[in-house]
Every structure is written in C-alpha cells, then in structure tokens.
C-alpha cells in the first residue's frame, strides 16, 4: 500500500511548497516532529558552542593571574556562555522534546497551530544567528573615559555584561559599543519565539487531547510542558518590557535604570529575577517530566504519587514567582524583605522534596533495568539533590551573603541545570531515540558516556562549592596567587575536559546508531504512554486512528493486568494486540488531513533580525526591509489554506 499526497486544490496567491524531501521539505515544514528534530539539532549545536566557551573560560582560570584571555574576551565569553546555554541550548532542547512528544503523548495529530510552531522555530534560529552575529558586527570597549592597553578583538566583541545584564554596568556609558544591544535585542527576539510556542502548547494541551485523555490521565511530561508553558507565558512579558527599557536607555537616551534621570538600577534586578527565577523552573521542569517518564518504565511500576508529582510541579511553578529577590539578598533590600524571601525560598524546597521522594518511591520495590536512560535519570536524582540542598543554604540569608556572587553559586546552579536539566535531557534523548529514528542506540557507548559525564561533572562542579567558600568570586577574569585557589581550579579544568570527552562519545554514538543501529521495535522499553503505541520512527500522520484513552498509563494497562498481590501480569492477548497495533499504525484506513507546509513562517521570522539591526544602527532602510518581510509573511500566511490530505490507494 503506497500513499499519495494530493496537492490542495484550493487557490492561493503564492505557489504552495510541495517538496517532500530535501532541504525545502525542512524549511517549509509545519510537522511538529520535523520541527522538534530541527530544534534538537540547532540547540545541540549551540550547546557545543556554549561548551566550547566554557572550556575557554576554564583554560583561563586553570592558573592564577593567567593571561590566556584578555579581560574583555573573558567577560564576553562568560556572558555568551550563560546566555547561550540558557536561551539557545537548554530551552530549545526542551522545546525539541515538547514539539516532538507533546502531540504524541496526548494522542493528537499535530499541535494546535502548526504554522505558528514553525514560526517560533524560525524566530529562534534567526534570534540565535542574530545574537551570534555580534562576533562579526558587534563592538565593545572600555567604559566612557577608560583606557585599554590593546584593541578588543573579535572574541571580545560579544555582549559582556553578564547574562543578567545588571544595570547600569550594561548601559551605554559603562558598556559602550553595540555588543550589549545585540544581547538585549537578541533575547527579545528569542523571547518572542518562546512566547509563541508557549501559547501554542497551552492551547494544544487544553484543546487537542484525544478522547478520554482527561487532565489527570496526562503523562507527567505533558503536565510539565503545560507548567513550563504557563511559566513562559507569564514571565517572558516581564523580561520583554525590561529589555525594552534597556534598549531605550541604550539607544534613545532614556534613563529607566540610570539614577541620573530618576531611574533605578535595582528595579532592573527585580524585573530580571521576576523573570529569571521562573526561568530556572522553565529549564528544570522539562527534565522533571522526562525523569517521571523514564523511571516508571524501567522500574516496571507506575509513577509513585502521580497526583502529588503533578501538583508539586505546579506548586513549584507558582511559588517560583514569589522567590525572585533571593537573587538579591546582598542588594539594597530591607531585612523584612530578606526574611520574607528567605522563607518563601525555603518553602519551595518542600514541593521539590516531594518530587524527589516520589521518584524514590517509584524505583523502590521495582525491577530496575539499568540502561542508559535509566542511569541518566538516576544520576539526575543524585545530582539534583545536591543542587537542591545547596539551594537551601542560599535561603539562609546571612549565609547567602557569604555565598552569593561566588563559585559556590556557580556550583549550585550547575548542579541544578547541568546535573539536573541536562542529565534529564540526555536521559530523554536516549529514551526516545528509538521512537525518533527507528534505530536502537549503542548501549555500551551510552554507558561510557554516562560514567564519563558523571565523573567529569562532579570533578568540574563539586570543587566549585569549595572554591566559592574559599572566596573565589564569580565572573573573575583572574585570581591572585595568594588566594591559594589554584589546586582546585586545575581539577575543575580537568573535569571540564572530561565532560567534553563524554560529549564526543555521545555524538559518536548518535551518528553511528542513527546510521547503523539495530532496527527498533515500536515499543522497545515495554513503556506506558501513547507515543509507544505507534510505529518507530513515527509516521508522518502520528496515529492512524485517534486513540481512546481509558486510564492513566493506558497503554500499560492494555498490556498488563494485576494478580491478587498487585504484581503485573502480561495479558494473554497482549502479543496479538501489539502485532495489530503495529500493522494499524503503518496503514491508516482513512483520509488523513495534515497541515500544509508553508513558506511564510520563515519569511515572517526573517523580518525580525532586520528590525533588530535597524534599531541597533538606527537605519530606516533596514527597518523597511524588516517590515516588508513581516507584511509579506503575514499576508501570505493569512491567505493560504491550512490543510492538505493524504489519500490512500486502498481507499480510492
């Protein structure tokens, strides 16, 4: 049975894109799976760049008073490392998972607004390219009236005010040149991308669930996507406005964050962390979701305390909006505010603890299959607990005034965002590898990757706790020999290179397995959620017929019943059912309407960087180009029909 795609008969002013393969099929795609894959590769590319920047930083810090980098270069590197990892690596990798899995997990054929989905991907790509074009076009230099011994090279002509861009240091007077403009506008563009995907996912989850997929039957990963989307939708507007102000201050001479004209530099901190702290949960909750899928599957037990984990996730998201000032305990905030935010920060540890205990409850008494995704998930728990506990020490405000702005904080958030988020992400990459590529990854290489990363990670970030307590401040280009910090700094640098090695192992595994891996069955892990009921790799139409869900972990319950002890027993008919499922999945028996590919998302998205350059260089022509692209994209978007159909021979 072959399928043919019949081009849409509806008229359009522009010719429809029709490629099914090749580069144009990717550029014009609105398929959530292709977009997810593109998100993944783009984010991984930026992860490598961010990692490279980290290695450069670590070489500089491996010795006291080192001169491998100039101060300008070092400051540019740490700013770009943070910005890249957060906005261009971890967030989009999470978006890759959301895109690929969310429709599959709720039994949908695509997201609510497929073209908006493509739009947000292309805005992300253009935003990332725009930000990185600072290395070519950007300029940076000494503050007004200051002197430099040498010119700032290309490596230093990147944003250099830190990923938090504290004012007034990130203002025009103290960070002249255009580099910080690239940062402010680049983040603005990336924010648009995230915002669009956020309301796309919210709408999708509310309105695209298949029959019987009630809210309390949704997989935890879907729940966490939901929570993250709300966090994005409610926190990004805050930073967007703040970045607006920054851009006005820098380009048009206003004084929102400058005391000279009545502004307030501390206000920037409030606005930034009002966004910035929810952002931390935006980065970590997807990993919570992934781990909550992986642990039950490889323990062969349901998730312990499903409802508790869901509500704890939302509790974290909610309280996450009330703890922002714990980033500012050393700022000029009153003791009452310190006490209040210290306590709210302690409170957030409670739902986090609930999650951890429930995960332990999940593996307790299970039958643990220790393959790579499981190892990463278990590693996630171990490392995240360390990050969580050091987080509690930050809520002890007086202790935090010693720790803040030191490497202790650097250690803390790397345990949360690397040991937490990234370990979870790697767990997910291995877990869903068979579903995406239809091939199995190499288990031994996967385990080597895990152990190398585990060792490298702890060598890198473990000693940083100690370095911070010994007085190594953050964002320090050099440290004096007398501070006696060199020993652990060398260890840290060695650890960083071990991490780099582990990433190489991962890439080898990925490339090799994708090409030559064993063919993957459609349910290799004996899993529990809907995405495992369809063939691997996922067919373009996802589900041949809309699945009907009768319970949480529906797929598992169709495969297994329980005996009188409550132990899982495979049903007699399971094997037969699985065979039928695969057969059905490959051969849909009805017309399938899929969203049409479209040129317009990429056209529309390409307008934004032009507008960005127009603001930086105050150029009317560039602004016109940008506006025209937006209008052409928007007009074409509005006038093209939405869907095309896949007809099947058997049907005709």
């Amino acid at each position: 049975m072959t399928k043919i795609i019949e081009p849409s008969k509806q008229s359009s002013i522009f010719r429809r894109p029709s490629s099914e393969t090749g580069i144009w099929s990717w550029i014009t795609t609105v398929d959530h799976k292709k977009i997810g894959i593109m998100y993944g590769y783009a984010a991984f590319f930026f992860l490598l760049i961010g990692g490279l920047e980290a290695l450069i930083l670590r070489i500089q810090l491996s010795q006291p008073d080192n001169n491998f980098l100039t101060a300008a270069e070092y400051n540019a590197m740490f700013t770009m490392h943070g910005t890249t990892m957060i906005f261009l690596a971890i967030m989009p990798i999470s978006a890759a998972f959301f895109n690929y899995l969310l429709p599959l997990q709720i039994g949908a054929r695509d997201v609510a607004f497929p073209r908006l989905n493509a739009l947000s991907f292309w805005i992300f790509i253009f935003g990332g390219a725009f930000l990185y074009s600072t290395f070519i076009f950007g300029t940076a230099g000494a503050p007004e009236g200051g002197y430099l011994a040498e010119e700032v090279g290309w490596l230093g002509s990147a944003p250099n005010g830190g990923w938090f861009g504290y004012q007034p240091n990130a203002g025009m007077k103290y960070s002249p040149g255009t580099a910080m403009d690239y940062w402010a506008i680049g983040l603005q563009i990336l924010g648009v991308a995230s915002l669009i995907s956020a309301f796309n996912f919210i709408t999708t989850i509310i309105n695209m669930r298949t029959e019987g997929m009630r809210f309390m039957r949704m997989p935890v990963f879907t729940w966490m996507t939901f929570a993250v989307s709300f966090l994005l939708a409610f926190s990004l507007p805050i930073i967007a406005i703040a970045l607006f102000y920054v851009t006005f201050d820098r380009k048009f001479g206003t004084t929102f964050f400058l005391t000279e004209g009545g502004g307030d530099p501390i206000l920037w901190q409030h606005l930034f962390w009002l966004f910035g702290h929810p952002e931390v949960y935006i980065l970590i909750l997807p990993a919570f979701g992934i781990v909550s899928e992986v642990l039950p599957t490889f323990s062969r037990k349901p998730l312990f305390g499903y409802a508790a984990i869901v509500f704890a996730g939302f509790g974290i998201a909610f309280i996450g909006f009330g703890v922002w000032a714990h980033h500012m305990f050393a700022s000029a905030i009153s003791p009452v505010a310190q006490a209040g935010f210290g306590l709210s920060t302690m409170v957030i540890a409670v739902p986090t603890g609930v999650k951890i205990f429930n995960w332990l409850g999940t593996i307790w008494g299970g039958k643990l299959k220790l393959n790579t995704p499981m190892l990463f998930s278990l590693g996630f728990i171990g490392m995240f607990v360390i990050g969580g506990l050091s987080g509690v020490t930050h809520s002890i405000v007086p202790a935090d005034t010693q720790q803040t702005d030191t490497y202790y904080v650097v250690a803390h958030f790397h345990y949360v965002l690397f040991g937490g988020a990234l370990f979870g992400i790697f767990s997910g990459l291995y877990y869903w590898f068979p579903k995406v590529w239809g091939k199995m990854y190499n288990e031994s290489l996967g385990k080597i990757h895990f152990w190398l990363m585990m060792i490298g990670f702890n060598l890198t970030f473990g000693p940083m706790h100690w370095l911070g307590l010994q007085g190594q401040v953050r964002r320090t280009w050099v440290y004096a020999e007398e501070t006696n910090l060199q020993f652990w700094n060398i260890i840290v640098t060695v650890g960083a290179f071990i991490i780099a090695l582990s990433i190489i192992v991962f890439m080898v595994n990925w490339i090799f397995s994708k090409r030559n891996g064993e063919k993957a069955p459609f349910d290799p892990w004996d899993a529990r959620t809907l995405e495992w009921t369809i063939p691997s790799p996922t067919p373009v139409w996802n589900f041949s017929t809309a699945p009907i869900v009768k319970s949480l972990d529906d797929f598992w319950h169709t495969k297994y019943s329980e005996d009188e002890d409550g132990r899982a027993v495979r049903r007699e008919e399971t094997d037969q059912m699985l065979l039928e499922l695969e057969e059905d999945g490959l051969n849909p028996s009805e017309h399938i309407a899929l969203p049409n590919p479209s040129y317009f998302p990429i056209v529309l998205a390409s307008g934004l960087p032009f507008l960005g350059y127009a603001v930086i260089y105050k150029s009317i022509p560039l602004a016109l180009i940008g506006t025209v692209l937006l209008l052409v994209g928007g007009f074409g978007w509005g006038t093209e029909p939405l869907e095309e159909e896949i007809h099947l021979d058997s049907d005709e």
Binding site: A71, G162, A308, K367
Partner: protein
C-alpha cells in the same frame, strides 16, 4: 498516627530546646576538620576564606551555615542512601518477579511534606533572627563611608575628616558601621572573614557592619561583576589596636609637606604637578583637584601596602610597571598612560615613597 505523634512531640522538643540544639550541633565543628582535612591539606591560608570567621558577624553567619550544612548532610545521606540502596537491591536479576504495582501512599506523601517543613522551620528561626541581628546598627559604632569606583574602594571617615583608598583601617574589637554607595556601577563589598557581602548602589545608601576580633589584616574583594577589571577590584582591611589606630588617625590628619630643593623626590613632586596627575589625584597640602575626585587620594600613599585597587603591592617595581601603562594591569582603567619617561617614573616613585 503514631508517627505523627512522634513527629509533633519531636517538634515541640526541638522548639523548646532550640538553643541547646544549635550549640550541640556546633560541637560537631571539630568533626568538620576531620571531614575536610584533605581539603585543608591542599589549601592553607586562603585569605578570602568565608569559613574562617575572625569577628562576631562573620561567626554568626558561619554558625548558621554549619547548622544548615549538617542538616543537609543528613538529608543527603538519607536520599543518596535510599537511591543507591534501591539501585543495588531492586536491580533487575534473572529471577526478579514483576514488581507490585503501587500507585502511591497518602500517608507517606503527608509525611514527606511535613518533615521537610519541620526541618525548614528549625532552620528558619535562627535565620530570621540573624538577619535582623546583622541589619541592626550597633551602638557606639565607628562610621566609615565606602564609595565604590571602577575599580577601587574609597573610604571616608566623617568623624576624623580622613579620605583614603584601598586599605580600610579600623580599630580592632570595635563595631564598625559602613555607609556605602557607588559612584558608577554596582559593586559588592566583601570582607569574608568579617561579614557577608553588601551591594554598593549608585544613588542609594546601603549599610554593612564589620567587627574584627583582634589586630590583623584581611582581604576584601568586589563581589558583583562591575566591568572589565572586576576581578582586580580588591582591598585590604587592617584592624589595629586602639593605640595604633589613634596613631594612624593622627598621621592621616596631617597634610603632606610641599617639598623644596633638588632631591629626586622633589623632582617627582614636579612630575606630579606637571605631568597630568593633578587632573584626578589629590595630595592634601600640595594640590587639590577641581571638581570630582575620581581617583584615590595620594596624601598618605606610602602608608598603604597596596595600590591600584589593591591589585598590586606597593613596591617600586610594581609602581614602575603601573606608571608605565596602567591599562596593561587594569584593563579599562580611567588612569591614562601619561607616556612618562623612565627618569620621570623613578622620580615619581621616590616622591610617592615620601607620602607616609
């Protein structure tokens, strides 16, 4: 029910005896040396060590930190223990039966919600108390103003009419009240052995208390990223005995002598007056700057053992490096390269050496 009863009783006992408990836990401090001995083997005498308090403020923070630390260690051991235990015990074996399908347990959920809340409450009480203790203005404190500049700290003693830089001189065993603000960007004043950090904000005044047990020298460092030479924005705090402090104050209140004659130092004074230094640097009794005093007051330069934001020790070799090209040492610095000749530099160094 029994667990709940036990827990609540325990809670009451803890609250009743919180002081006792805190003190007992601190006896474990000796243990910490055992636990961290190998760390100390590698690192001895880190001058920015936040775990070696040398005054009451830093000590109260330190005690709070170790209380939290040991509680965290216990939780760490329990959780990681449970994790590792599960991995080894429940690992799939050829004969493992299918596991029981347990969906959750409400009692356990309540338990592991309530217990962390109790533990946090135990930490919260001393935390809040310490927050307010640290914020209180101590009685009879010596007031000193700290002004942040890119990239050095300026100190003013309103009671004594003294202006100095880089080295903060304080009397030992006496509370100090710092009133701080910034002249440009945010800075963060930190003397780890005496207290935590506090921001210096343009247009706002912030406060920080210091108190050193005994005469000693401490390191200070700017914590907040403040631009190109942030890492070189350092400082020293010198605590002196009461009599030494008085001597120091008397000396600081003296103006510099205007040098006459043909000595090398007098030539240096001419360089200072003519080469451009006077644009920014004050030497009381010799030259006062018009407008903003954006650079350190040099009246008692030789009295300080460090200069250039405490990035360099006050030696002739360092001075000649610095004067030859300041931006080489502190990128972004506002001190221009005045293209001084070697002769001028040597004269200037000789002159600066007289500014005791």
């Amino acid at each position: 029910m029994i667990t709940l009863y036990t827990v609540s009783t325990l809670f009451l006992i803890i609250v009743d005896n919180i002081n006792m408990l805190v003190k007992n836990i601190f006896k474990l401090k000796n243990l910490r040396f055992l636990a961290l001995i190998f760390l100390y083997a590698c690192i001895e005498n880190a001058p920015l060590d936040s775990l070696s308090p040398e005054g009451p403020y830093a000590r109260s923070i330190d005690e709070l930190f170790w209380l939290t630390f040991w509680i965290a260690v216990v939780i760490f051991l329990i959780v990681q223990g449970a994790l590792l235990f599960s991995v080894f015990v429940f690992k799939e074996k050829p004969d493992s039966p299918e596991p029981k399908q347990i969906h959750g347990n409400t009692k356990l959920e309540i338990l592991w919600t309530v217990i962390p809340v109790i533990i946090l409450a135990v930490i919260a009480v001393p935390t809040v108390r310490t927050i307010f203790d640290l914020a209180n203005e101590p009685e009879d404190a010596l007031k000193i103003e700290v002004i942040g500049h890119q990239w050095w700290f300026e100190y003013k003693y309103p009671d004594y009419d003294i202006t100095t830089a880089n080295v903060l001189v304080i009397p030992a065993d006496k509370p100090i009240r710092l009133e701080m603000w910034s002249n440009d960007v945010l800075h963060n004043y930190w003397v780890p052995k005496l207290n935590g950090k506090r921001y210096l904000v343009p247009g706002q005044t912030t406060y920080l208390n210091l108190h050193a047990d005994s005469p000693d020298e401490f390191w200070a460092q700017c914590g907040e990223y403040c631009g190109l030479s942030h890492s070189k924005m350092r400082g020293r705090v010198l605590s002196l005995s009461e009599s030494d402090f008085e001597t120091w104050v008397k000396n600081q209140q003296q103006n510099a002598n205007k040098l006459e004659g043909n000595s090398l130092a007098a030539e240096g004074q001419q360089v200072y007056l003519n080469a451009g230094c006077t644009q920014c640097h004050v030497i009381d009794g010799v030259w006062d700057v018009q407008g903003d005093r954006i650079a350190p007051n040099l009246t008692h330069f030789a009295n300080r053992n460090v200069f250039a934001g405490a990035a360099l020790y006050n030696t002739e070799e360092n001075l000649s490096k610095w004067l030859a090209n300041p931006a080489e040492i502190k990128p972004g610095t506002f001190m221009p390269n005045l293209e001084l000749t070697e002769v001028e530099i040597n004269a200037l160094i000789a002159y600066l050496g007289t500014l005791k």
